[in-house]
Amino acid sequence: MFNIYITGVGGQGIGLLSEAIIRAADYAGLTVRGVDTHGLAQRGGIVVSFVRTGNVNSPMFMKGEADLAVSLERNEALRALRDYSKNKSSVIYYNTSWQPLYVRTGKNREVTCENIENYAKLKNIRVYNIFYDKLKDIRMQNIAVLAAIYKNKLIPDIKYDNYINALNDLLDEKKFVLNRELFDNVLNA
């Protein structure tokens, strides 16, 4: 059993990232279940997707049960770590900040990379901070993170071809070529 918690802010492409992982897991021969929480996601709220492989029943898992937390946004990375990450698990996040309202108004403090590093140490969690400055389109951050997940072998048993096949399922020809190129560039970076 392997539990993946994927999060970010509505509009960041969490759905595609999650579906790519689900399909890649399936190509790898794993039994997989998942669920996205929609709600008010489209309006800049928090988006969450659960993905589970192995012998599981519910598509959701309990707090503190994630083997891997993936966040496309820095503030949400800390929330994921706090609420869902297991001790000695991993977190990977894309280092961008979409400041929540009360951070902008000054009532709350923005989460820093240091906050994440320090908190992760308390739970013995490995942190992967991703930022890729050569993106052709910011909407490809999700695929940069997917490539980094593969590069760092963060999900057991899923191979290169599995990820590429998953992307090929989900993207039209033009987008697939661009995203595959990005995937390879991140691997070789």
Binding site: G34, T37, L40, R43, G44, P59, N87, Q99, T105, L170
Partner: protein, 630 residues
């Protein structure tokens, strides 16, 4: 790219990773469903998204988005009594809108069959309540199937359709949010394509179809007799499952809660037996009786209300069984989704003696993470409108919210919208607030899709009874909240181009004399319109129009016409008034650690609706080389 539309029409059996909503579309196809209708509402609109992947000319059934759930139900009903298997789907509270017609269905001979797909929302993920629609099924003598996952959603739709056709009665498929959206590999059966059945079989001989006074009773009797037959079926239904662990403890459950329970089995020192009910109205009497008989103690693990509990306790009473039955023990058990976590917490309280101590992978370590309230998108016309309307109001004035993206206006910093009931309520609630109210202005908000859905009667009432209030119609040209579906004001229906039914013309037609219209980005104009309207008697409408920018820019991106222009803050001018952040509050404007405002370029779409909000004109549009300053 895998083409879902082609996959769904595959004639051979196949497996595919899909969400529950998509699995149902394949079930509709395999079951030869001929007419499908809906009004968009979470968690079910992805059923329509999946239908939309099949080109209209290849689609083996007719589909429409109707103007509301009642209309959708009636269209599906009409098709069924004309001999066509039909289906209608909508969200939990949609059933309230449909109810007036829906409650009649069980009384009538639905010769084609009809499946009603309801997306209940335990946890109120995207609804104004978490109503348990099993109550409606009891009230109307309609059988209900409840799946746990996408595979069962597919199989149960097919069974529901079969039962419905066979018994000429409506059947409900009750989904919950995370069954609709759960994703897994589903195994589908073959599909034998047949030409569309274009026969009209309506015949009063199949009726009676007019329930008036005495004719109601034979119809009601028939409905009750059909349900009696269903009680026998319920005991034989393959969707009931028993898991035996040879325990004295037993649990009766259903739906997604069943999966939450299975994932918790390792947290029991002694694993209990489980009875999972697949057909939840009428429940399988004999299976339950036997389960009760063979257990010392039984917990009814039931999300939302205590419907099984009461029925199961009555089975125990009638059969003189003295099994200890535990239903809900606290208010908490009536609320929220039964996630694996919630199920653990319930058993920790119910049966502490047979539960293991919670296996904590980590002791929770608290740290403050900023809350993230949902917000309107960059460029949203609603933001511009709320900003302007707020400026025109005094603190004592009253604002009435309605349902749509603009509901979010109630949040900081706009606080526009102080009360919300249901789709289209705002004009009438506002009218009530204006009675015995001399010195507080009342402003109601309403979206365009909701205008057509349920907004019009309230407006007619306000005109007819001369209520004094201002209605702001936030017209964004789409049904945005549920994923940008068309509506009667857009010029497209689900299938084709159609005549636009302009909101303004409808208003005129129903007698609204005082109508103003402006682009929602014209803040000064909107502000003065609001103020002027307060000086006038009677009912006033202001249409604040701007296309949904999420939909609009998506279209531009697809067509390659999107200009990726941005705004920026001129640091030499910015005097840190923070109007852009604190009052206008487009998420694009962020603050660095020194308190300087900057534009988060990943978010800015360059709409420029913010420029006018800066008192010192420090928000400027980037000028790219070769472009003039526009």
């Amino acid at each position: 790219m895998r083409k879902l539309g082609d996959i769904l029409l595959n004639q051979k059996p196949f497996s595919e990773i899909v969400i529950g909503n998509t699995a149902i579309v394949r079930a509709m196809i395999e079951s030869k469903t001929e007419v499908v209708t809906s009004y968009p509402g979470s968690p079910t609109p992805e059923i329509a998204s999946a239908i939309n992947t099949i080109p209209k000319e290849k689609r083996p059934f007719y589909f429409e988005f109707s103007v509301n759930e009642k209309v959708a139900t009636e269209v599906a009903f009409g098709a069924s009594i004309n001999g066509h298997l039909s289906a209608v789907f909508f969200k939990s509270v949609g059933l309230n809108v449909a109810a007036d017609s829906f409650v009649q269905l069980g009384l009538l001979e639905l010769i084609g069959g009809m499946v009603i797909i309801i997306g209940d929302d335990p946890g109120a993920n995207s609804s104004q309540n978490e109503q348990d629609n099993r109550h409606y099924a009891k009230m109307t003598y309609i059988p209900v199937f409840e799946p746990s996952d996408p595979q069962e959603a597919y199989e149960m739709y097919k069974e529901a359709a079969k039962i419905s056709v066979k018994n000429k009665m409506p059947v409900i498929l009750r989904l919950t949010t995370h069954v609709c959206h759960a994703k897994q590999k589903v195994n589908f059966k073959e599909y034998n394509e047949l030409p569309l059945n274009e026969k009209s079989l309506f015949d009063v001989k199949n009726g009676p179809y007019i329930p008036i006074t005495n004719s109601v009773f034979p119809m009601k009797k028939r409905a009750l007799e059909k349900m009696k037959k269903m009680t026998e079926y319920s005991d034989k239904c393959n969707f009931n499952k028993t898991i035996k662990n040879n325990s004295e403890y037993g649990i009766i459950t259903s739906g997604l809660t069943y999966l939450s329970l299975l994932d918790n089995l390792n947290n029991f020192k002694e694993k209990p037996d489980i009875l999972k009910i697949g057909i939840i109205n009428p429940i399988p009497q004999n299976i339950i009786k036997d389960f009760l008989k063979t257990h010392k103690e039984v917990k009814i693990l039931e999300e939302l209300d205590n419907i099984f509990e009461l029925e199961i306790k009555s089975i125990a009473y009638d059969n003189k069984l003295n099994t200890k039955i535990t239903g809900k023990t606290s208010v908490e058990e009536w609320m929220g989704e039964y996630t694996p976590e919630k199920v653990y917490e319930i058993f920790e309280k119910t049966w502490p003696s047979i539960m293991k101590d919670k296996i904590k992978y980590n002791d929770y370590i608290d740290i403050k993470v900023p809350e993230r309230p949902a917000q309107m998108c960059p460029g949203c016309g609603h933001r511009s409108a709320f900003y302007a309307v707020k400026t025109a109001l005094s603190d004592k004035d009253i604002t009435v919210a309605d349902i749509g993206c603009h509901t979010l206006g109630f949040l900081d910093p706009y606080n526009m919208g102080q009360v919300l009931l249901s789709m289209g309520h705002s004009t009438s609630t506002g009218a009530g607030l204006s009675v015995f109210n001399k010195d507080r202005n009342v402003v109601a908000f309403l979206g365009d899709s909701t205008f057509f859905h349920a907004g019009i009667p309230g407006i007619i009432n306000a005109v007819y009874n001369k209520h004094k209030l201002t209605l702001v119609i936030m017209e964004n040209g789409t049904t945005a909240m549920t994923g940008h579906q068309e509506h009667p004001g857009t010029g497209h229906n689900f299938n084709e181009v159609t005549d636009v039914i302009p909101v303004k013309d409808v208003l005129k037609g129903i007698g609204v004399k005082n109508i103003r219209e402006t682009d929602a980005y014209s803040q000064e104009k909107l502000m003065s319109m609001i103020k002027e309207s307060f000086e006038e008697e009677g009912f006033k409408v202001i249409i604040a129009k701007h296309p949904c920018m999420l939909k609009f820019t998506k279209k531009q991106r697809n067509e390659g016409t999107f200009k990726n222009s941005k705004v920026y803050i001129d640091k030499n001018i910015c005097n840190k008034t923070y109007n852009c952040i604190e009052k206008f509050a487009c998420p694009t404007f962020q603050k660095d650690s020194q308190g300087n405002v900057f534009v988060q370029k990943e978010l800015c779409i360059g709409d420029g609706s913010c420029i006018q909000t800066c008192p010192v004109s420090a928000v400027k549009r980037e000028v790219k080389e070769g472009e003039g300053n526009v």
